[in-house]
C-alpha cells in the first residue's frame, strides 16, 4: 500500500489510464466543483475538500466520512473543472479503495446480493410480474433472472474479481454473512 494518490493511480489507472487519475494533482482548490455540486446543498460532501484531503494522503479521514457516499456521480463538476481534473472518476475510484478497505454500508453491500442472486440490482417480483402483464409483456424479461446458466456467468465474474469476498457474501445462504451494523468491519 502506497500513498492514497499512488493507490488511486494504480487501481483507477488500470481502467481509465494513469494520466486520467493523475489529474488529481492538478486541483488548485478553485472551488468550481463545490459551487455547482447538488449534493453540497444538502449534505456535508465537499468535492474541493475531498481532493485536497486526497492530495494530502488523508486516507482514514476520507474513508471514515459518510459524505464520501453522498456524491450522485452527476458529472457537473467533471464538465466544469477548469483544470481538467477527472473529478467523478476520481471519486468513484476513491470509493473503490474505501470499499476494499471494508468501508461499505449494508444497504450498499445488499445491492451486490441482489445481483448475485438474480443478475439485477432491482429484480422482478410477483407484483411487478402483474404490472408487466398489464402492459402486454411477458411476466419475466428474458434476462439473467429467467435463465440460470446466464446468471452463472455473472456470478463467475463476481467470484473472479473477489467481489463476493468484498461484501462477505455467503454462497450457502446466498446472503451477507453478517448483515449487522453499518460497515463490514
Amino acid at each position: 500500500m502506497g500513498t492514497l494518490y499512488e493507490d488511486i493511480v494504480d487501481h483507477g489507472g488500470e481502467v481509465f489510464g494513469k494520466e486520467h487519475m493523475e489529474t488529481l494533482m492538478l486541483c488548485v482548490q478553485c472551488g468550481k466543483c463545490t459551487g455547482g455540486c447538488p449534493s453540497g446543498r444538502y449534505t456535508a460532501f465537499r468535492t474541493r475538500k475531498l481532493f485536497r484531503m486526497a492530495q494530502e494522503d488523508m486516507r482514514e479521514e476520507i474513508f471514515n466520512a459518510p459524505e464520501l457516499w453522498f456524491c450522485s456521480t452527476c458529472f457537473t463538476c467533471y464538465e466544469r473543472c477548469p483544470k481538467g481534473v477527472k473529478t467523478t472518476d476520481l471519486i468513484r475510484v476513491i470509493r473503490n479503495l474505501a470499499a476494499k478497505a471494508g468501508h461499505m454500508s449494508v444497504p450498499h453491500r445488499m445491492i451486490g446480493v441482489y445481483v448475485l442472486k438474480t443478475g439485477h440490482a432491482v429484480p422482478v417480483g410477483e407484483p411487478q410480474m402483474k404490472l408487466r402483464k398489464a402492459v402486454g409483456l411477458d411476466e419475466m424479461a428474458p434476462t439473467t433472472q429467467k435463465y440460470k446458466e446466464q446468471l452463472e456467468q455473472v456470478q463467475e465474474i463476481f467470484r473472479t474479481t473477489h467481489y463476493d469476498a468484498m461484501i462477505d457474501f455467503d454462497w450457502n445462504t446466498m446472503n451477507l454473512r453478517e448483515a449487522e451494523g453499518d460497515e463490514k468491519k
Binding site: 487501481h11 483507477g12 488500470e14 481502467v15 489510464g17 447538488p38 449534493s39 446543498r41 444538502y42 449534505t43 457516499w69 453522498f70 456524491c71 450522485s72 456521480t73 452527476c74 458529472f75 457537473t76 467533471y78 464538465e79 471519486i91 468513484r92 475510484v93 470509493r95 473503490n96 470499499a99 476494499k100 454500508s105 444497504p107 450498499h108 445491492i111 445481483v115 443478475g119 439485477h120 440490482a121 432491482v122 429484480p123 422482478v124 417480483g125 411487478q128 404490472l131 408487466r132 398489464a134 402492459v135 402486454g136 409483456l137 424479461a141 428474458p142 434476462t143 439473467t144 435463465y147 446458466e149 456467468q153 455473472v154 463467475e156 465474474i157 473472479t160 474479481t161 467481489y163 468484498m166
Partner: protein, 296 residues
C-alpha cells in the same frame, strides 16, 4: 425509416422491465410504429449501474458491462436503452474497452471463462436519441394525432444522458436540446425552470446511502417545476423515473407533503400524443396519476 426497417437490441436493464414496464411497452410500440424492430437480449443482466457498481469496484463493473455488450455483438446489432444509468454504464464500458487494448485483453480473460469475448463491434444508443436523430422530428410530427397544445412541460434530463459530454457526444451539457425538441414536437410548451439540469438525487448510490436526504433533491426539483407552472415532467431515464415518481409517495410519507406531479418517460409522453391510451403506456400502474389535460 419506414421504407427500410432497422433492428436494434433493446438492453432493458433493471428498472424498466422490473418496476416500470410501461416504459418498455411504450418504447417498443413507438419504435415499431416507425419501422424499427426491437430484439430481446437473452441473458442480459444489470448494466451494472455506473455510479453504484462503478463506485464499489470498477474491476467488477467493467466485465459485467462488457458481458452485456457481448450479447449484442453476438446478435450483430447495436443497442438502445431506456435508462441513463444503462446508457452511462454500457457506453462508458464500450468506450474504455475500445480505447485501451490492454484493458480489453484483461476483460476478455474474465469473459473467456464462459466463452464470451468483447470484440468492439456494437454501439450503444439512447432510445431518445434514436427518436430524435434516426426517426427524426418531421416523421414524429406527422404522427401526433393528439397534440399536447396547452400542456406546459418541465424537461428533466438526468445526468448520464449528457455527461460526460466527451463520451456522450450530444453537445454541451449546459445547453442541451434533444429532449426540448421531442417535447415541442408534440405541440407542448417546454418551460424553463430553476435548476432544470439538476440531478434527481438518486444516482451514485446516494439513494441507497440515505434515501430521505436524496429525496430532498427530488423535492426541490419538483417544487421548482411546479412553481414555474409546469403540468408534468418528461425525462429520458428509468432510474430518474423511480426517484421522481415513487419518490413522491416516499416524500408524502416521510415529509407529510401531498405531491402528485405527473412523471412521464419521453416515449410515454410521445405515446399519449400519438393517441396511445395511458394503459398502453403503463401510466396507470405507477405512483403519480395523469391529469385529464394529458389524456384528452
Amino acid at each position: 425509416m419506414s421504407e427500410e426497417a432497422k433492428e436494434y437490441a433493446f438492453f432493458l436493464g433493471c428498472i424498466t422491465p422490473n418496476r416500470y414496464p410501461g416504459i418498455e411497452a411504450a418504447t417498443k410500440r413507438i419504435f415499431k410504429e416507425f419501422g424499427i424492430e426491437t430484439k430481446e437480449m437473452v441473458g442480459a443482466s444489470c448494466c451494472p449501474a455506473p455510479g453504484v457498481f462503478g463506485s464499489f469496484d470498477m474491476h467488477t463493473w467493467l466485465p459485467v458491462a462488457a458481458r452485456n455488450l457481448c450479447i449484442a455483438e453476438e446478435m450483430g446489432l447495436e443497442i438502445y436503452v431506456t435508462c441513463n444509468g444503462c446508457y452511462g454504464s454500457l457506453q462508458e464500458a464500450d468506450h474504455l474497452l475500445k480505447d485501451h487494448p490492454k484493458l480489453k485483453e484483461k476483460t476478455n480473460e474474465v469473459l473467456g471463462k464462459f466463452g464470451r469475448e468483447f470484440k468492439g463491434t456494437t454501439k450503444v444508443h439512447h432510445s431518445i436519441v434514436i427518436l430524435h436523430d434516426v426517426i427524426g422530428l418531421d416523421k414524429l410530427k406527422e404522427r401526433m394525432t393528439k397534440p399536447m397544445n396547452d400542456v406546459n412541460v418541465a424537461v428533466h434530463y438526468g445526468c448520464h444522458f449528457l455527461k460526460p459530454s466527451e463520451v456522450r457526444g450530444h453537445g454541451s451539457s449546459e445547453t442541451p436540446y434533444i429532449m426540448e425538441d421531442l417535447v415541442k414536437v408534440t405541440g407542448a410548451k417546454e418551460v424553463d425552470y430553476k435548476d432544470k439540469l439538476m440531478c434527481c438525487g438518486a444516482g451514485g448510490g446516494n439513494r441507497t446511502a440515505d434515501t430521505p436526504q436524496s429525496l430532498e433533491w427530488t423535492r426541490q426539483k419538483l417544487v421548482n417545476a411546479i412553481e414555474a407552472g409546469c403540468d408534468c415532467m418528461v425525462h429520458p431515464c428509468a432510474f430518474c423515473h423511480l426517484q421522481l415518481d415513487r419518490g413522491q409517495d416516499e416524500m408524502n410519507k416521510a415529509f407529510g407533503t401531498t405531491f402528485n406531479f405527473p412523471i412521464l418517460f419521453a416515449t410515454q409522453f410521445l405515446g399519449l400524443a400519438m393517441g396511445l391510451s395511458q394503459t398502453e403506456c403503463g401510466l396507470d400502474i405507477q405512483t403519480t396519476t395523469m391529469p385529464e389535460k394529458l389524456l384528452k
